[in-house]
Amino acid sequence: MKLCVCIKQVPDIQAPFRIVDGRLQFDVERHVLNAYDASAVEGALQLVEQHGGTVEVVAIGPASVSETIRKALAMGAERAYHIEADPSGWDSATVATVLAAFFRDRSYDAIFTGKQAQDTDAGLTGTMLAERLGLPYVSNAVGLAYEDGRLIVTRQGDAGREIIELTLPGLVTISNDMNDPRIPSIRGIMQARRKPVEQLTLSDLGLSDDALRPQTRVTGYRPVPPRAPGRKLEGEPAEVVRELVRLLREEARVL
């Protein structure tokens, strides 16, 4: 089985950030592997450990992305592709365009992505990429199995879990609820230095500036407004419950 996981480098959400005049400020030198993508790498590694095969990863970004690529290689991916570009200002569709160009001449049994990225939380790239490549896909996967040349994907739906049989090649976007990504060992980190990382440019992929023009743009950031303080009801339990029900019906209008 040959799998490829699309990984993204995101700002470290542990580090402080702030919003000044509608613009987001953060320490651009602190970045990590998107946690959802880490689960996707873990899911892919577990599949090939059970059924044989290889896991490769692809990432888009500036030179600093090498650290994130190395983390995925340290976890156990065998080969990486680094598409060198400055993706600031891109939207999900642009990313999907670039990834689609990358995958067009390559063949994999399945492509995995995280279900979303921690920085934008858009959750669109995987879906758009499946559409561009004309692949069947399942989103928000929490379980994966391989049987008779097909992937059996457990998907977390709104009402419950759905078990979906996916013909291959196909694409799956993976939830962080699927697994706890392994912690790379020191040996893995040291050996990752010797694993192949192929550098690609946008022109290598035949992409023109026109093709990369984003369809949407972020016009500004606003902090989440602080939540209004709650109201505390005091008194005898029977009275308090009666009052609570009244408030839920008349003020909150949820009953």
């Binding site: 580090a15 402080p16 950030f17 702030r18 000044v20 400020q25 953060f26 320490d27 651009v28 030198e29 602190r30 990590v32 090498s66 650290e67 190395r70 983390k71 340290a74 912690i183 790379p184 060992s185 020191i186 040996r187 980190i189 040291m190 230095r193």
Partner: protein
């Protein structure tokens, strides 16, 4: 001027100076320590338990012997990486860092540096995986800061040496499979002898390792004695590569280097927990963080921590360039352990009554750091090491105040 927000955990952005590989190793150590050690730390301290799965877990991730040659199972990584691992383990509990320091710096290091090829092949790979646990015997009940006057002897016999003596305050001794022991070796009974290193194995007759009970500090670390009564050690277990105090001192330099880094983690944890606490705790209608006294204390803590971080970072660079000296290590160990202890005491104070409770974890660090400030060269002894470097005059032995010759103690009298 940059427009980044101030990072109160890394005020001078020292982590962004780290090399990619070192930062990835730091992340591995941090993920392990926070997910696997932090949940055990309070129980380990309160019940006095060193969880015996920990060596294998650390071994699996490669956290033991990270600077040792990979052909012997080590990590082959930098000294900076070793320091960063120490920082992450000690962020949870100095006891866990102590285990790793002893295994890596005091057992694996001397075997790699002074051991034979057979010894390296026999011991290092299993020490790296945590299958074997090691300890290091230098300190004796009556010889702490002055190990040169040790009483443990090794007497030459056919095919090896016979060791007699007691080593005290030995981290890992009760759980160790092997012990690197330093003894005064005498070819003939009348020789003055010279200090040599020996690798003792658990099943050697005459060797016992009683546990040191009732410790109030480093309680999640196993501490004991190494008692040797006519222990025969074959020639194959002698470390041939070194004679004299230089041997154990080079190991200590290595371990002290790790302490200079580890204590940064303990101090950071105390400061971060305190920062969260004073933001939430309200008195007189305001969070404690709104009080001037509290703010300047936080500012002092962060200032000290920033200096500790930068000192450790530079020490790491010097170690990786092969230029680090024992005096530099003394300065950093002394400063960082001493400052971490002050920060922990301040953090304990700022938590008020809650600071007494283990769940807030600051008193846990505080009592641990009392040991860390003392072991591997006390704060004052490192001051004397530096004093000698600065002045060229040793002040370990008081001069001009020669003591009268030792008399036999007078028999106890009763009136």
């Amino acid at each position: 001027m940059g427009s980044f927000p101030f990072n109160p955990d890394d005020a001078f952005l020292f982590e962004s100076m780290l090399k990619e590989e070192d930062r990835l190793i730091m992340e591995t150590a941090r993920e392990y320590a926070q997910s696997c050690l932090e949940p055990r730390a309070l129980e380990g301290n309160q019940q006095g338990i060193f969880h015996m799965e920990i060596p294998r877990e650390m071994g699996e991730l490669g956290l033991l012997g990270v600077t040792i040659d990979p052909k012997y199972g080590g990590g082959g990584a930098s000294y900076t990486a070793y320091g960063l691992i120490a920082r992450e383990l000690e962020r949870v509990d100095s006891a866990y860092r102590s285990f790793m320091s002893v295994q890596s710096s005091l057992v694996m290091f001397p075997i790699e540096k002074y051991g034979t090829e057979e010894q390296k092949r026999k011991y290092l790979p299993k020490l790296a995986t945590g299958e074997l646990i090691g300890c290091f015997g230098l300190t004796e009940p009556d010889h702490g800061s002055d190990p040169g006057s040790m009483e443990t002897t090794a007497r030459r016999v056919d095919g090896g040496w016979v060791l007699n003596g007691t080593k005290a305050w030995i981290t890992n001794a009760p759980i160790a499979d092997i012990a690197v022991v330093w003894a005064r070796a005498k070819e003939h009974p009348d020789d003055e002898g010279e200090i040599m290193g020996f690798i003792l194995e658990r099943d050697m007759p005459g060797l016992s390792t009683p546990e040191t009970k009732n410790k109030m500090s480093l309680r999640a670390s196993s501490t004991g004695e190494i008692v040797m009564e006519d222990v025969f050690v074959p020639d194959a277990n002698v470390l041939p590569g070194v004679r004299g105090l230089r041997g154990p001192f080079s190991c200590l330099s290595n371990a002290r280097y790790g302490i200079a880094w580890g204590t940064v983690g303990a101090a950071e944890d105390c400061y971060q927990r305190t920062r969260r606490y004073v933001m939430e705790r309200t008195q007189f209608g305001y969070p404690l963080a709104a009080m001037q006294l509290i703010q300047t204390k936080l500012a002092n803590m962060l200032t000290e921590i920033t200096q500790m971080q930068l000192l450790a970072f530079r020490l790491g660079q010097l170690a990786d360039e092969g230029r680090v000296t024992p005096a530099q290590i003394s300065l950093a160990k002394r400063n960082n352990a001493g400052k971490a202890l002050e920060i922990a005491r301040m953090a304990r104070d700022m938590h008020g009554a809650n600071g007494i409770v283990g769940d807030y974890r600051v008193i846990h660090h505080m009592v641990n750091l009392e040991s860390v400030n003392t072991y591997e060269g006390t704060y004052d002894i490192h001051g004397l090491i530096l004093g000698r470097e600065i002045t060229g005059i040793q002040a370990f032995v008081p001069r001009g105040n020669d003591l009268p010759p030792k008399k036999k103690p007078a028999p106890a009298t009763t009136r």
